[in-house]
Subunit: 402 residues, 2 copies
């Protein structure tokens, strides 16, 4: 994929085109009964159907057939970064999810509060699932801890979960989880697999020791376990790869964070689709590429609420005319993965995708849905190739070879 | 891909089958208006439609989704050479295009005549676009130059363009372009990035110095710039990879040259499709694999002439009965890329492809066209895999593993 990035850098040509990528999170679904319709097929989506008529449709495979992606790999693929090559560690994703701006000198770690008994062994791995308010209070105690050689950040997530970030020079992330994954054992000592990671482990072990002392009166949240040590990934920006001035219109911190990871500018927007479209209009002249993220097709799927996902899809459909009114050169509608409400979870099923542009080869597809997309001209394709198609249809890729 | 070549070498089995690959250059197209028909779909192609009925259809992706290939990568893919792995430099392609037979000791370079002012700076990068006659005459002057350590060939292309080939031992091609790409600057000195390329650069700098003296009275064609230094690529022959005695029936030098690069025998043919088919018949018993190249589907597309491309496609259709009369074991019809007349250029759109053989799994496709091929049994596939399908349907590939 870095090879593909090199190819793009070699072939790309600047122009005044505008590319809009609309991502309805978890867009793909399943019928509740065999032979039935999916959420997308049930929804009334006249505007998406219009787009399907003039555009070209297909199904994108987020990672590989059968592989269910999390939000990180799902979005990286759509941005043209091979999700098998570019991995975002759990600590980083957790930090992105609470809007913590991770930097190149940071190691981010997911933390859990646990309950330790008098001998220091874990009696409850989730500290009795404390309230988020408790989590916030106990994190304040941890945030006061100082360890030489690193700046320490402790940020609450919710219930027993928090994020720990250590910032310093030459810190590695090849550090074992301190969570033993069972009750009745003591938290493990951290150890590093290389010199930089040994520095991290030393800082962590000091931190944990001080934390255990500081929390001694805070039972059941009197211990911590740590996992998913992860540095900020070395990842080229969208501008570096594609030459695109890129901007994100996302409400949830996780997606703003993912967009920031690949160098997009994060635009201010209100919490609704309408405010996102307003922000898109306002920024139209300042960027070449716009990523708009919509969460509720995923959230309703995760809830297992078929009807709510149908409604969320219809709300998404309603913004299409306003986006089309901006006359983007290339307009893409897709999802980062499927979230069938039948499964109440992300899934591996290919994701309905459509692309509309003057240079697209129209197919016979006239509605936007999983079955219809099977007949589409994009076929089934790897999500990581979507940006090549976007760039090509925008006239931004020159000829390869003479 | 070399990995795939190794696999083919391991599995291939000789037999008496005949494979014919008919390449209509730039075959794929676009409708002029959304929902309309492409050039191929507009053309009356009863013979191709008959083949589609008994064969299996699909769409080939020349390089990657969204990547528009030049003729070199487009054809390499069809011959089963990964176009991202095997790159043909511009100097080599330029030499192939004028039928210059580049060899393993050659470095081929594209040359431009330019105009130098009294101080030696470039005042016109194309020397006022001289006539091709002038180009021929001035090349004769350059061809007389001798430089120790290399044989020198200077061949006119047209207008301000010529090909320079230096032939010698251990000459590298990692040499910078001497064309500064702007007027008001002097041509750059050549320098090499490794020992072999330093030898090339030294020869080139001597050649340019002598050329500038020899052309002193030839203004406006009194200077030269050079670019695209390229050695003959290290590429295994079709015979070495597939065990096929391969032959090419191509009219234009570029395609004869590309076929020669992969070790095909270049058969003599007149300039028309009919003479190409006659030459095919005449050579039928002497080869296992025949590549027939037809230029006018591309040339008319590049001209933006939809109707002319339709007519060129119909002319191509007319030769199918004569080819089928030879009873090839495998008959493939495809293009090296799309050239939609709407775009007046090569494009990235997948290329209609059909394969007919006794062993093919027939699909429901009954006409040959972009939309129909979408429903075909070959699906959308990478062009570099086409030769595997050809070999398999010819019964020339044994089982992989027990």
């Amino acid at each position: 994929m870095s090879q593909i990035h090199d190819l793009v850098r070699e072939l790309r040509e600047p122009n005044n085109s505008k590319i809009v990528l609309l991502v309805a999170d978890g867009l793909g679904g399943l019928p509740l009964l065999p032979g039935g319709k999916t959420e997308l097929e049930t929804a009334k989506t006249p505007h998406l159907d219009d787009l399907a008529k003039i555009g070209v449709s297909g199904l994108s495979v987020p990672v590989l057939p059968g592989i269910t992606p999390g939000s990180g790999p799902g979005h990286l693929g759509l941005f043209g970064y091979d999700p098998l090559e570019f991995r975002i560690g759990r600590g980083i994703l957790e930090a992105l999810g609470i809007n913590f701006q991770v930097g190149p000198r940071d190691v981010a770690i997911r933390g859990n509060f646990c309950t330790l008994d008098a001998s220091g062994t874990i009696s409850d791995r989730r500290a009795g699932r404390p309230s988020t308010e408790t989590c916030v209070e106990v994190c304040k105690i941890l945030a006061k801890i100082e360890v030489p050689g690193a700046e320490i950040f402790v940020e609450p997530v919710r219930e027993h979960r928090f994020v720990l970030v250590i910032r310093g020079d030459n810190l590695g992330d090849r550090v074992n989880d301190t969570d033993p994954q069972i009750v009745g054992a003591k938290p493990l000592l951290a150890s590093g697999a290389d010199d930089a990671s040994k520095r991290t482990a030393e800082i962590i072990n000091q931190f944990v020791e001080k934390a255990t002392r500081a929390l001694i009166d805070q039972a059941p949240t009197n211990g911590i376990t740590l996992r998913g040590f992860a540095r900020h990934p070395a990842i080229a920006s969208m501008h570096d790869v594609y030459g695109l001035r890129s901007a994100a219109l996302a409400v949830y911190p996780m997606y703003r964070g993912l967009a920031r990871l690949v160098g997009m500018e994060i635009l201010e927007t209100g919490p609704t689709l309408e405010t996102q479209v307003d922000a898109l209009k306002a920024a139209w002249n300042d960027h070449d590429f716009f990523f708009l993220h919509y969460k509720y097709t995923d959230a309703t799927g995760e809830d297992g609420n078929f009807d709510a996902k149908v409604k969320a899809t219809e709300a998404f459909d309603a913004i299409i005319p306003a986006v089309r009114a901006l006359n983007p050169t290339v307009l893409i509608v897709t999802g980062d993965h499927s979230t069938p409400s039948k499964m109440k979870s992300h899934s591996w099923h290919p994701v309905p995708t459509l692309l509309s542009a003057d240079t697209c080869r129209t197919d016979a597809v006239t509605t936007f849905g999983e079955s219809a997309c099977l007949q589409g001209g994009l076929g089934q394709f790897e999500a990581k190739h979507l940006m090549l198609l976007a760039m090509a249809h925008a006239g931004r890729l020159g000829k390869y070879g003479a």
